[in-house]
């Protein structure tokens, strides 16, 4: 009986060993995340404009590699091999925590929806998207010129990792444009940052023009155009910084052909409360000033303040202002004059947008 018991025990143990842990015995391959050898960036040379947010989204093609993956910028260098790690230095930037809607009631409310974080100026996120934050300025990055020498180009590699292994995608490069703090910026030479001319080293300056409709020229009684020339009218838009202030304001100003301020109140049908997403409107006889959050628009979200309004669901990248007045025209018809401008301002500051009626003043009086 003892023997039998012993045999049974041995048998039982043998079976346990034999029937368990099969997967190990069979030496089957373990499942790993997939990391394709064909993963690639659709774009390897980045030409962002400094001083504003540049997000290159959806440019990484993982070729069905298993997300999530980790991405890391490695080997930041210049074309001649010098280290270019300085572009990875962390600087404070604003990141969103809640969605901007356009219905916020104060600058503080907008600012409550974003916070300051330290982020590298050049960053790659887990999707492979490349971000150049507004903190990247020409202090660190040398802006591109009409000729860029290889030793000035900043190169970097991206290291992609998941449990399936590691791959390095090589030789991505950044050749940025210098800061252009606002849009439209026909008046800035994007290589030198100086006033733009029609021809290199020329003297004829380029200008920004607003959109004008329905206005009559004072004295000409003819339709007024933004870029009509001579008696048909020339109207420039200047977007420029105003000295002093808190860095959170935007004002609008109108100048007549003598460069004397026109009272904004003359644009009597302007919807002042829907002009910009600004608060604490201050209207003087020279300008209208708002407290605003920068950049303008703060996010690429269509609101009633952006070009096309909320029905332009693809828009939201530029703000839109419209100043309207009406007067009685010939034959007693009511005529409406509109001056409007699409714009964006990327740099925080105290800015003003000036509409300068250069040659002909608008006619506000009734006929």
């Amino acid at each position: 009986m003892y023997n039998i018991l012993k045999y049974r025990v041995v048998l039982f143990l043998a079976m346990i060993i034999a029937f368990s842990g099969c997967r190990k015995i069979f030496d089957l391959p373990e499942e790993k995340d997939y990391l394709s050898t064909k993963m690639t960036y659709a774009m390897t040379e980045f030409s962002p404009t400094l001083g504003r947010l540049n997000l290159y989204q959806g440019i990484f093609n993982p070729d069905n590699s298993s997300a999530p993956m980790t991405f890391e910028i490695v080997n930041a260098r210049f074309g001649d091999g010098r280290s270019a790690e300085d572009m990875l230095a962390k600087k404070p930037v604003l990141v969103w925590t809640q969605e901007y809607t356009g219905n916020e009631k104060s600058v503080a409310e907008i600012d409550a929806k974003r916070k300051i974080e330290e982020r590298p100026m050049l960053e790659v996120r887990p999707s492979g998207d490349i971000i150049l934050w507004p903190s990247a300025t020409s202090e660190v990055f040398k802006p591109r010129d009409s000729v860029t020498y290889p030793q000035d180009i900043r190169y970097f590699d991206v290291k992609v990792k998941n449990s399936g292994g590691t791959r390095i995608i090589k030789n991505l490069s950044v050749i940025p444009y210098r800061e252009i703090p606002y849009f439209p910026a026909e008046d800035i030479n994007k290589f030198t940052g100086k006033p733009n001319t029609t021809t290199p080293n020329g003297t004829a300056l380029q200008h920004n023009y607003p959109n004008i409709s329905g206005m009559k020229g004072e004295g000409t009684n003819d339709d007024l155009f933004a870029n009509g020339g001579g008696l048909k009218g020339v109207v420039y838009t200047y977007i420029r910084k105003v000295p002093g202030g808190t860095g959170n304001s935007l004002r609008f100003k109108f100048l007549n052909k003598d460069s004397v301020a026109i009272n904004p109140a003359k644009f009597n049908e302007t919807k002042w409360d829907q002009l910009v997403h600004g608060f604490n409107m201050e209207r003087t006889s020279e300008y209208v000033k708002f407290d605003v959050a920068y950049p303008i628009p703060v996010a690429r979200i269509p609101t009633r303040f952006t070009a096309g309004g909320i029905t332009n669901t693809l828009g939201g990248s530029t703000a839109y202002v419209e100043f309207v007045y009406s007067r009685r025209g010939f034959g007693g018809a009511r005529e409406q004059g509109v001056i409007s401008q699409q714009f964006a301002i990327y740099e925080k500051g105290d800015w003003e947008i000036v509409f300068h009626f250069k040659t002909v003043n608008p006619k506000f009086e009734d006929e």
């Binding site: 015995i25 391959p29 373990e30 499942e31 997939y34 990391l35 959806g58 997300a67 969605e99």
Partner: protein
């Protein structure tokens, strides 16, 4: 030389004369009656034998009597199929001997077949399971396969279509292929049915279905042509040693079917009739009439954009509620579905004695489908005969002729796409009536199909015993199968032009086997068995079609061809084949006192499907078995009836690939100098190195019989490796050819199988109760892909509209889904994550359009790569399309009344667990709400769809619905941007676990004397029901009615519930 001759003659004289040298003894005449130990009935046709080797002297007559003349004190052996053999030694001078035989339940003494040779299970090492013919009666089915469901551990059968005459899927021990064709719900997994061997003739059950859902022709498997009444037993061979000798096609397992043989001294006529009803399973409930309109208007008024409100008045079926055309409540499903009443009749005649016996089986089977205009009829006549003029010579011959007829409405059989599309029509539209016809309805109901296979199979086998123990056998069979289909669609059903489709195909198989076997026993201790054989196949098949897109009128249904312009030709299909196979095999078995058994087989297979560089493959197998209950130290254990441990290993092949893969395809390539020329098709580069699929299997198992038959346990664990799996790789576009078929994929299965059978009651009880439970756990793992894929291949599906991609990743289950992960529903818009960089809300597709932003009530899709945009980069490999756990259980309780009548109750159940299926039926149901205007091709109201109520679902209804599972389906306008009900998401991936009560049979056998009173030998009547109820957490209609890769489309054929009343009468 002379000496040798003398020696030889002495040797042969000894062999031939030794019988006669036995001393003469006194003869006595012994007589008696043989009774059934269970029912106490007399038994007809019991063989009475004596001597060594056993010689059958007689069989019992119709009253169970026998009378034999034997030596005084001889030993008599009584045998009867499926009853225990009784051996009784006569006392000196005994002349009466009454015997009772007991039904045999001992697994170990079953006769099994290995390499076309009968052996007892005790001395074979392979893993197999026998299902008796009795277990596959009582429920009328067109395809006997479906009655095996859940009866054999490791045999996974999914009854995924209810289409009459067509098959579900069947796999032994997990997945054997990763090859899929088609897309969407029609993604078709290459079937890997086991090889069927019917009375020694191999048959390819996949013949009709290997070309997917959109196949041509009737699509009836040859297995559907075998009447279930004609089946005596089915044996399922699972491991490599058992299947080794079926080598060249045995890689997917082997199922052996023995048909009934003549077995009665008195000619018998047995009649089986079944009268049954196919009942429509629960169809989906829909909102009818005004309720449908109200819901659509509610959707538009609540969620519509401005233009939508305006378009209501331009969409008459919504606005014009008083128009009688739009004021209906039509039950479209009811137009197509019906309950049907069917019958089957089977007459079996058999008779004969040990020298000559015969059997004829005549059968009629009819199954009208629950979808109108579908059905399957079968007529078959099967005959066989055994002829043994002497003990040493025997012949067996059989002929089977079967005709099937199938009606498929306008579907292709497995799918009823037309019916599914019509079933989705708006209930507001008027139904078909005397005044109003709908072309799609007509095409489903009036399409006239004349289709079906016609099959003739002949087989003859001769056996000669040269010297005792040395047998020569030669067998040949010829199988010819014709498939035809003629489909005529009347003009009213097909845009005013009648359409004709015609298919003709044939397959033939010539098969020959020659066999030498030798058994030898030394001192009753050392037993040897050697079997050598050769096998040869010549298989041919070709099919062709022709189509006439427009025939002149409804009266012109053929001959085909009046106009070249509308003739779509078709010609010979690429399913053409011409295969030759030749194999040589040897099997050797040695056992010591039946205690230690050693099996060795070796087989060389040459097939013309291989690349011509390596035509032969060599397949060895080895098996060991230890019957430990025969050990002296266990002999005394009363509770151990038998016990053994088996270890086997071996290899099998299956020819894959076709002639095109090996030799390329040559097509007409225009003209050169005005002469037509033929050139290679640049799609596939020929691969002369193509090898057959190789399946290597290791098996370890044990069998235990405990407590005198009260409990039988069979356990197996196995590792099955499938190498040389075909894989089509895309070639670089700088090469001339675009695709390359290689053998560079591989997968493996490992798992466990366990079967318990228990007969808890005492053997002499009036009650007989048998419970058996079995289960199989199978994991499959993909082990290899072509090198260049680096471990993962995604089979993208962009064309079907479903986008449910399949992922094949090394180290994981071979066929996974590649989907978006759904993590619930956003309770409110504030819960949607914001991209910290841009401040934009998480968006669908791309970040450009603000309307793509997710909002409260939208599905919470997992943003795997963290870019706040949901796109194809966020797809994840998830789920397992193949079931991991399958099995079944049966419960049989019978009671023998004092009168001798027997009442028995049978319950069969099957289960499947751990499988993910994609509930596209639910997806379709919710997506019906996406289009309240019935917009098609940009036209409002062109295709109004029905509405299925969704208020039973846990759907988001507003902020606060925190645990909602489904996004707001009513907001169709936003869904157009958010695509919450996309098909490619895990919301539809549900567990496919189910427990199904397959079959309940209540039968009553009248006592023999009662039957005799009305001049019959035996009467049995039974009531049965099948597909009775399925318990499942699955929310779709039927967790089993899904395709082989787990897609539950709404265009499948529902499995009907069947109620049957049947009779067995024996004259």
């Amino acid at each position: 030389m002379r000496k040798q001759v003398i020696l030889l003659s002495i040797f042969f004289s000894c062999i031939f004369l030794c019988k006669d040298l036995v001393a003469q003894t006194k003869k006595v005449t012994v007589s008696g009656t043989v009774k059934d130990g269970g029912s106490n009935d007399t038994m007809v046709g019991v063989s009475v034998a004596t001597g060594k080797p056993l010689k059958v002297l007689t069989q019992t007559d119709s009253k169970g009597h026998y009378s034999v003349s034997v030596d005084d004190g001889a030993t008599l052996v009584f045998t009867y199929v499926s009853y225990g053999t009784k051996t009784i030694k006569l006392n000196a001078g005994q002349t009466t001997l009454n015997v009772t035989l007991k039904e045999d339940n001992k697994t170990m003494e079953e006769v099994v077949i290995r390499g076309y040779q009968k052996r007892t299970r005790e001395v074979t090492t392979g893993s197999s399971f026998i299902v008796s013919g009795k277990e596959v009666q009582d429920v009328p089915v067109s395809n006997v396969e479906q009655l095996l469901q859940g009866k054999v551990a490791g045999l996974n059968i999914q009854l995924n279509t209810g289409a009459p005459g067509l098959r579900g899927t069947i796999n032994i021990r997990g997945l054997s292929t990763i090859s899929t064709t088609g897309s969407g719900n029609e993604t078709f997994l290459q079937p890997t049915s086991p090889l069927y061997v019917i009375d020694g003739v191999p048959m390819d059950a996949d013949k009709a279905s290997e070309y997917g859902f959109q196949q041509q022709g009737p699509g009836v498997s040859p297995i559907s042509l075998i009447p279930q009444e004609d089946i005596a037993s089915i044996e399922v061979l699972k491991d490599a040693t058992a299947t080794a000798l079926y080598g060249s096609r045995g890689a997917y397992g082997v199922i052996l079917i023995q048909t009934v043989r003549g077995n009665s001294a008195v000619p018998r006529i047995r009649y089986t009739g079944n009268f049954y009803m196919n009942a429509i399973p629960k169809l989906r409930s829909i909102l009818g009439g005004n309720a449908e309109r109200e819901l659509k208007l509610y959707q538009i008024n609540t969620y519509g954009r401005f233009r939508d409100q305006y378009m209501v008045s331009n969409t008459p079926f919504l606005a014009d509620s008083l128009n009688p055309y739009y004021n209906n409540s039509t039950d479209w499903q009811g137009v197509f579905y019906q309950n049907t009443y069917n019958q089957t009749h089977n007459v079996q005649l058999d008779g004969g004695d040990t020298k000559f016996s015969y059997k004829t089986n005549l059968s009629y089977f009819s199954d009208k489908g629950i979808i109108k205009n579908t059905g399957f009829d079968r007529y078959s006549l099967n005959m066989n005969m055994d002829y043994k003029p002497t003990e040493r010579i025997s012949f067996f011959g059989s002929i089977r002729g079967n005709v099937g007829k199938i009606k498929k409405a306008n579907g292709v059989g497995l799918l009823q796409t037309g019916v599914a599309a019509d079933g989705q029509k708006s209930s507001l539209l008027p139904g078909p009536s005397f005044f109003q016809a709908t072309s799609s309805v007509l095409s489903a109901l009036q399409t006239n199909t004349d289709a079906g296979p016609k099959n003739l199979n002949t087989y003859i086998e001769g056996r000669y015993e040269l010297i005792p123990g040395l047998n020569l056998t030669s067998a040949a069979s010829y199988d010819y199968n014709v498939d035809t289909e003629d489909t005529f669609t009347p003009a009213a059903a097909n845009d005013q032009f009648a359409k004709i489709y015609s298919f003709y195909g044939y397959t033939s198989q010539l098969y020959n086997r020659n066999n030498v076997s030798y058994t030898r026993s030394l001192n009753e201790k050392h037993n040897f068995f050697l079997n050598l054989f050769s096998e040869m196949y010549i298989k041919k098949g070709q099919s062709s079609i022709t189509r006439l897109e427009r025939s002149p009128n409804d009266q012109f249904q053929g001959p085909l061809g009046y106009d070249g312009y509308y003739s779509r030709g078709g010609g010979i299909l690429t399913s053409f084949y011409d295969q030759n196979q030749i194999s040589f095999a040897a099997a050797f078995t040695y056992d010591f006192e039946k205690k230690y058994i050693f099996d060795l087989t070796y087989r060389i297979d040459g097939t013309s499907n291989n690349g011509n560089k390596e035509p032969y493959s060599k397949n060895p197998s080895v098996g060991l078995k230890w019957n430990f209950n025969k050990e002296n130290w266990l002999k005394d254990l009363k509770w151990l009836n038998y016990g053994d441990i088996r270890v086997t290993a071996g290899r099998n092949i299956f020819p894959v690939g076709n002639l095109i893969d090996i030799y390329g395809k040559y097509i007409p390539r225009g003209f050169y100098n005005n002469n037509p020329r033929v050139g290679i098709d640049y799609e596939y580069v020929p691969n002369p190195l193509l090898r057959p699929k190789k399946v290597t299997q290791f098996n370890l198992g044990f069998d235990l019989g405990l407590f005198n038959g009260k409990l039988d346990v069979i356990f197996d664990t196995y590792y099955k490796k499938v190498d040389n799996e075909l894989f089509v790789s895309q070639l670089s576009n700088t090469l001339a050819f675009s695709k390359y078929t290689s053998n560079d994929a591989a997968l493996a299965n490992y798992g466990y199988e366990l079967s318990f059978t228990s007969r808890p009651l005492a053997k002499d009880s009036k009650f007989n109760w048998t419970i058996s439970v079995n289960g199989a756990w199978n994991n499959d793992v993909l082990t290899k892909l072509p090198e260049e894929y680096n471990g993962q291949f995604i089979e993208f599906d962009f064309n079907s509209g479903y986008s449910q991609h399949l992922a094949k990743r090394i180290g994981r289950n071979s066929l996974a889904n590649y989907l978006y992960v759904n993590q619930g529903v956003y309770d409110s818009t504030n819960d949607v994550p914001i991209d910290p960089v841009t401040g934009l809300r998480y968006r669908n597709n791309d970040s450009g359009d603000f309307l793509n932003s997710f909002q409260g009530g939208d599905a919470r899709f997992y943003d795997a790569n963290g870019d706040y945009v949901l796109d194809s980069r966020d797809l994840q490999v998830v789920g397992n399309t193949q079931p991991v756990l399958t099995g079944g259980m049966s419960n049989t309780l019978s009671y023998t009344m004092p009168s001798g009548s027997t009442l028995s109750l049978n319950i069969y159940a099957t289960y499947t667990a751990k499988r993910s299926i994609l509930n596209n039926a639910l997806a379709d149901r919710l997506r019906l709400l996406n289009n309240p205007f019935g917009i098609k091709d940009g036209v409002y109201g062109k295709n109004p769809l029905t509405v299925v109520p969704v208020n039973d679902l846990n759907m988001w209804t507003g902020p606060g619905s925190t645990n909602a599972r489904f996004a707001n389906a009513y907001d169709y306008a936003h869904n157009a941007f958010a695509n919450n009900y996309r098909y490619e998401q895990t919301l539809w991936m549900e567990t496919g676990s189910y427990f199904k009560i397959n079959q309940i049979t209540l039968s009553y056998s009248f006592a023999k004397k009662m039957a005799r009173r009305i001049g019959l030998n035996n009467i049995r009547t039974f009531l049965s029901a099948s597909n009775i109820v399925t318990f499942s957490p699955y929310t779709g209609p039927n967790p089993e009615g899904v395709t082989a890769i787990g897609r539950d489309g709404s265009n499948g054929y529902p499995v009907p519930r069947v109620y049957n009343l049947g009779f067995n009468v024996e004259f």
